[in-house]
Amino acid sequence: MRALSFAMRSFGRELRSGEVMVLLAAVILAVSALTAVGFLTDRIGKAVARQANEVLAADLRLRSQDPIPELWRDMATDYDLRTADIVLFPTVVFAGDDSALSTVLAVSNGYPLRGSVRIADHLFSEQREASGIPGPGEVWADSALLGRVGADVGDSLAVGELHLRIAAVVTYRPDQSIGFASLAPSLLMNIDDISASGLVGEGSRVRYSLLVAGDEADVSAFNDAIQDELPGSVRVRNQEESGERAANAANRAQRFLSLTTIISLLLSAVAVAMSARRFAHRRMDTVALMKSLGATQRFVISVALVQLVMLGVIGVIAGSAVGFVAEELLSWILTDIIGGDLPAPGIMPVVLASGSAMVLLVGFALPSLIQLRNTPPLRVLRHDAMPPSPSRILVAGLSLAAVAALLYRSVGDAAMLVILLGGIVVITTALYVVGRGLVALMGYFRSGVGVAWRYGLANVARRGRASAVQVVAFGLGLTVLLLLTLVRTDLLESWRATLDEDAPNHFLINIQRSERDSVANIMKSQGVGVPDFAPLVRARMTMINGVSVKKRAYPEADARRFVSREQNLSWASTLSSSNEIIAGEWWPAGYKGVPLVSIEEEVAAETGLTLGDRLQFEIAGQELEAKITSIRKINWDSFQPNFFLVLSPGALDDYPATFIASMRVEPDERAVLLDLVRAHPTISVIDLDSILQQVRGIIDKASLAVEAVFIFTLAAGVAVLFAAVQSTIDERRFESAMLRALGATRRTVFSGVMAEFAALGIAAGILASAGASILAAVIAVELFELPYTFSPLLWIVGVTAGLVVVCASGYFAARSAVDSSPIDVLRGTPA
C-alpha cells in the first residue's frame, strides 16, 4: 500500500518532468502499431465471419459452365428446398461513351437464399437491406462501376443490347467473396432480361449457378442424393469449405499485416530497453536514499512494478487511441480493395495490445528495474557504488522470450517461430555488424575535417554501439519506405518499358466462328489492323496415359486443380512468335496426322507431364486423345492470346469452338470498339490498359497502406534515437559546458552535435539505399525477370532522407544539452 501511494505520487511528478517520456512513447508506438493493424484485421475477420455463413448466399451452390438442367431444380423442390438461379458473366457496360468491364449477376426471385443484399438510393447515401431483386429493365450497380463510367442512380446503362435503368447502388451482397472485391465491379440484374440482352449464347463465358437452401437435414439428404448423379461439369460447394477458404484468405492477410508491424515492435523494444536503462540509472540515487532511510528491497521492487504497470496502462490507453485513428485511415485507404463496409472493431485488439505492451515492458524494461533492487544504500555516501549488472543471460533470455511471445500470435506455429526468431537474430546481427562498420568508416574521416565535424565524428565513434543501433533502427525503416515508393515505381516503369509499344491492348473474347468475317470487316472499315483469331475449345482432361486424372499423383498440389478444371484448348499450325520450344519439336508445316499437343513448361513441371505422355480429353461429350510432342516457354508479356495446351491442326475441327483475338487500338480509334460491341453484343472486349490501371491502383493503395504501417517503424526509429540521446544527455551537457567554458561558441558546440547526427543520418541512408537496392535487384531479377538497373536517385533520396530525419530528430533530442547553462552544469548543483 505504502509502495503504491509512493509510486503513484512520484510517477506523476516524473511524468510531468518528461523523465519517462521516451519510455512511454516507445510503449505508445508499439501499442498503436499493434492496435491499428489489430483493429483492421479484427474488422476484416468479423466481416469474414459474418459472411462465412452467407458466402454462398445459400446452403449449397451447384455451379457449371452450362445451363443447369431442370432435373436438379425439380429434385431440390422434391426435397422441400428453396432454389434460385444466377447467371454470371463478364461484359463491358456503357454509360454514354464511357465503358467499364463488369461482372454481371443475373439473378432470379429469391436471391439470395441466405444473407441479404444491401443497397443505397444514391452513391454514398444511407444503405438499407434490399427486399427482392432488381425488377425487369433495372440494374443495381456497384459503386466502383458507377464511378468508372461516371453514372449514378437514375441513369441508363447499356448492357448488351439493352438499356437498363440504374435503380440502386449495391453496397453489400453475401456472395461478393470474402471482402476482397474481384477486379471487375459487379452489376445485379433480373434474370428475365438475359435473353433480350443477347449476351448469353453458344460458347459464352458464362457460369450458371443453382442456389439451394432449406432445412439442414433436407439439404444434407439432397446433397447425398446428387453426389453420384451429377455430371463432372457440375461442381457443388457447401458452406463449410467456402467459409474455410474465406477465413484462410483473411488469416493470410492478417498474418502479413501483423508481420509488418513486427519491425516497429522490435524497434520499440530497443527504445524501451534503452530508455528503461536510463530511467533505472536516474532512479538509483533515489533508491539508495530510500534504502538508507529504511526502505526494503520489496518496497523498491513494488514501487518499480507499480510504475511499470502504470506506464503500461497509460501506454495502452494512448496507444489504442492513436491506433484507432490510424486504423480509420488505413481502412479509408483500402476502401476500394476491401469490398463493402466493415463491422465496427471489437475490444480484442486492445486486450492483445495490452498483453503485448506488458510483455514488451517485462521483457525489455524489467531487467533494468529489477537491478534497482540491488542498489547499495552506500551510494548515498559514495556515488560510484553501483548495483551489480543484471545477468546477461537473464536479459537476453527475457528479451528473446518476450520477442517470441510477441511473434507467436502472428506466426502461430512453433517451427515457423523458431525459423523467424533465428532469422531475426541473424539479420539483426548482420545489420549491427554493417552498422558498426559504417560507424567505424565515419571515424576514418575524422582527421580531414574541421573542429565541429571532428567533435561530432569522435562522438559517433566513441558511442560506437549506440551509434550502430541508431543507424540500423533508421536504416530499416527507410529501407522499407524506399522499397515501397521509389523501387516500386521504378520496377513498374521498367516492366512497362520492356513491353512492346505495339503490344495489343485489347482482347476480344467469345467470337463465334461465323462472326469472324464481320469483325474483320468492322476493323478494316475503321482502318484498324485485322487481328489474328485464335480458336478456343472447352475441354476437360480425363486421363493421362490411360489413368484417371483423379488417381494420378502430382509433384505439386496446384496440379490437381489444373488437371481437373475446364481447359481452354487451341490449335495452331505455326508456332506463335511469343512462344519458344524448349523440348521436343513443333509439328511440321501442313501436318494433318493424329492429334499432337504442345504443353507450357511451368504446367509441365507442376503436373509432371512430359514428352510422349498421352492426354485424354472430354469435349462436349466426345473423347479425344493427343500425345505430347513439345514443351513451350511463353512470353506472357507479349499480351498475345496464349494457351497452356495447343493441339495440332485438324485435331479440334469437329468440336464447337469460339475465337479470341488481341489487337492494338489507339485512344483515337476507340470508336471502333463501340461499333463492334453494338454489332456483336456477345463479344466481350477486355481493355488491358484499364485493367492494368486498375491493378496499378490496387497496388498503389495496398502499398500506401503498408507504408502507413511502416510510418510506425520510422517513428520507432526516432524513439530509439531519443532514447539513445537521452541516455547520454548528462554526458552531453557536461561536454557542451566544458567546451563552452574552454571558449567554444554555442554555435560551434551545436554544429558539433549536429555533425554527429548528420554522420549517423548519412550512415543510415547508406544502409537503407544499399538494402533497398539489393532487395530491388533480387525482386527485379527473380520475380519480374527484368535486368536490374542501378538507380542513383534511390541513393540520393535515401541518404538525403536519412540526413534530414536523423538531424531533425537529433536536434529536438539533444537541444537541451547545448542550451543548458555551463555554470550550472559544471557546478553540478545537487538536489
Partner: protein
C-alpha cells in the same frame, strides 16, 4: 528510545571494526581495529583529514556497508547478523541522515520528502507529523516546493526535517554544511543542535570543520584508518 535516560544506555557500539577493500594494487585497509561506545543523547564529532576513513566509519555505523572484521551494535542489534532488509528496518526505526549533498527525492515536494521516512517506518500520522517538523525548521510556507525550487540552505533544512521526522535514536550527519556558505552553514547547525537537544537524539557528525566539531560534546579523531583519539570537548 529517545527518552532513554542519558549516561547509562549505550546506543551505538563499534567492536574492533576493520574494513579492507581490494584495489588494483592489492588489498587496501581503510579502517583498522576501531572500537568505541556512544551513549544515548551524546553528540559526537568524527574528525580527520581526507582519506582518514570518516565516511567509511559512518557507512559501517549506519549499516550502509558491512565491516570486514568486527561488528556494530546499533540500538541493541548486531548489524552483521542482519541481512540488507533487516538493516534497512533498523534504520527505518532508529536512524536519521543528513548528507552533504542533501539527497532529496527530486520528484517529491518538500513535505513529501519529509513524509518519506515516516511512511517507510509505517507511521500513521505521517502528513501531520511532517507538517509539524517542517514548521520547526522554518519552512512552513515552502512545504509544497520541489527540491529544484529551493535554495541550498532550504534543501538542507528539508533534509534536517526529514532526518528528525521519525525521532530517531541516532542521527548521522555527513559534512552537513559542506555545500553551504558559512552563514547558512551556521544557521543550519543551530537548527540541528537545537533539534538534537529538544528530542535528545544521539548525534554523530562527520566533519573536518574544527569549529563545528567543537560544538559537539565528544570528538573521535581518525587518521589513516586508525582511531587516534577519543576526547571530551571542553566547551
Amino acid at each position: 528510545m529517545s527518552n532513554q535516560s542519558r549516561g547509562d544506555a549505550v546506543v551505538l557500539a563499534a567492536h574492533q571494526l576493520s574494513k579492507q577493500v581490494s584495489s588494483p594494487e592489492g588489498s587496501l585497509t581503510i579502517l583498522s581495529n576501531v572500537s568505541f561506545r556512544i551513549l544515548a543523547g551524546e553528540s559526537v564529532a568524527v574528525v580527520g583529514p581526507s582519506g582518514a576513513g570518516k565516511s567509511t566509519l559512518l557507512a559501517l555505523l549506519a549499516g550502509l556497508d558491512l565491516p570486514s572484521d568486527g561488528h556494530v551494535e546499533l540500538n541493541g542489534a548486531n548489524l552483521s547478523d542482519l541481512d540488507e532488509d533487516g538493516r534497512a528496518r533498523v534504520r527505518a526505526e532508529s536512524v536519521g541522515f543528513v548528507f552533504q549533498s542533501f539527497h532529496l527525492v527530486p520528484s517529491l515536494n518538500a513535505l513529501e520528502n519529509v513524509m518519506l521516512p515516516l511512511e517507510l517506518a509505517g507511521r500513521s500520522n505521517a502528513r501531520s507529523a511532517a507538517r509539524g517538523i517542517i514548521a520547526k525548521v522554518g519552512l512552513k510556507d515552502r512545504w509544497s516546493h520541489y527540491p529544484a525550487q529551493l535554495s541550498g540552505g532550504e534543501k538542507q533544512r528539508v533534509a534536517i526535517a526529514r532526518a528528525f521526522a521519525t525521532e530517531p535514536a541516532v542521527l548521522f550527519a555527513d559534512e552537513p554544511t559542506g555545500n553551504l556558505d558559512s552563514r547558512t552553514g551556521t544557521t543550519i547547525m543551530d537548527i540541528m543542535f537545537e533539534l538534537n537537544r529538544s528530542s535528545s537524539t544521539t548525534l554523530i557528525l562527520v566533519t573536518h570543520d574544527k569549529g563545528l566539531a567543537g560544538r559537539c560534546e565528544r570528538m573521535l579523531s581518525l587518521d589513516a584508518g586508525l582511531l587516534i583519539s577519543d576526547s571530551k570537548v571542553a566547551s
